[in-house]
């Protein structure tokens, strides 16, 4: 009993010590003058002429540093595969479809049904607005895709018994990832369109839509897998 309290106190002391050390080092290092010409100034001076995007954040993650976005999409795809594999790991591919007889009839409340029905078109509208207008205003593919995944939950609240094939969603996600890889390769790495206004805008909108749908499929698979975890196994 005494020993456990001692160990807890030691851990607490270590955390406090580490926090004070880090804050002290941070405040000390702020005094040192650094004279490296920053990347920020280059990006902020030229982003509108180079990429035709009014949102400089979108300009960076879709044009200047597009490698980040590609590897982030890869990470999301790997995590979706991991979720599917762990939860369905010991089953054959044929057994992985959701069987109709395993659904049960939910007693849905009337209030939820009506209000979700009213909200649903507005949800879709704001998601597509955020995706398509992502290069000019705050938003973009990731955020819009996440809102579309929320719309999938609204669909589950209204029709809990409706069939949804997760295999098709997973395959579509992988297919979209290949397209997302190929668009910047053909557009940015092989040509130089910097300064061409129309081409750049077409590229930005295309990439935002592709990323939005890829994130939507990936998060949709994760969410539906979580919701049906208890009933299937």
């Amino acid at each position: 009993m005494n020993l456990t309290k001692l160990i807890l106190g030691l851990r607490f002391f270590l955390v406090i010590l580490g926090a004070f050390l880090m804050i002290f080092l941070f405040i000390e290092s702020k005094e040192i003058e650094v004279t490296i010409p920053s990347l920020k100034n280059y990006y902020l001076n030229f982003y509108y002429e180079d990429t035709a995007a009014k949102n400089s954040v979108a300009a960076i993650y879709l044009n200047y540093r597009v490698f980040d976005t590609l590897f982030e999409a890869l990470m999301l795809m790997v995590s979706v595969m991991e979720v599917i594999h762990i939860s369905w790991g010991n089953k054959h591919l044929i057994q992985r479809s959701i069987l109709r007889k395993e659904f049960y009839k939910n007693n849905q409340s009337e209030v939820v049904l009506h209000f979700v029905g009213i909200i649903f078109p507005f949800l879709l509208m704001i998601a597509f607005y955020i995706i398509i207008n992502g290069h000019n205003s705050p938003g973009g593919g990731f955020q819009g895709g996440a809102i579309l995944a929320t719309a999938l939950i609204a669909r589950y609240l209204i029709y809990p018994n409706e069939y949804l094939d997760l295999n098709i969603l997973e395959k579509l996600e992988k297919f979209l990832f290949v397209i997302i890889l190929s668009v910047p390769i053909f557009f940015i790495f092989m040509n130089d369109f910097s300064g061409n206004f129309i081409f750049n805008q077409i590229y930005l909108v295309t990439m935002n839509i592709l990323i939005g749908f890829k994130v939507f499929f990936g998060l949709g698979v994760i969410l539906y897998r979580f919701i049906f975890f208890e009933r299937l196994n």
Binding site: V15, Y61, M75, I86, P138
Partner: protein
């Protein structure tokens, strides 16, 4: 108050998450602590090196000073990856709970109770 800034609070959040990782025995608590630790890093990156009275980096012609867009673009991707980490952790938790009935790293039984 120069001391209360986003960077120091980011460091404090990181160490709060570390404290949770060290002391809590519940697996769900561990995953939550990892989320808090990540949030501390996001806050540190975003609040770092911000000019006074700056504006968001959105618009056709920007008047200086402007917030730095590079860490913001990095943090958007980091948040989506954070969701992936949480989802994988929770899936592993549910799977092991179903298979072996574990929801704690180790049981915290005091000595007097183990005697009886």
């Amino acid at each position: 108050m120069d001391f209360i800034s986003g960077e120091t609070v980011g460091i404090i959040l990181f160490f709060i998450g570390l404290f949770g990782l060290m002391t809590k025995k519940n697996i769900l608590k561990t995953i939550m602590s990892i989320s808090i630790l990540q949030s501390g890093i996001y806050l540190f990156f975003i609040a770092d090196d911000l000019p006074n009275n700056s504006i968001p980096p959105i618009g056709e012609t920007l008047e200086k000073p402007v917030a730095d867009p590079v860490p913001q673009a990095l943090m958007i991707t980091a948040i989506v990856i954070g969701l992936g980490i949480t989802a994988i952790g929770l899936t592993m938790f549910i799977h092991y709970k179903k298979r072996y009935g574990i929801s704690f790293w180790s049981r915290n039984r005091s000595e007097e109770r183990s005697d009886q």
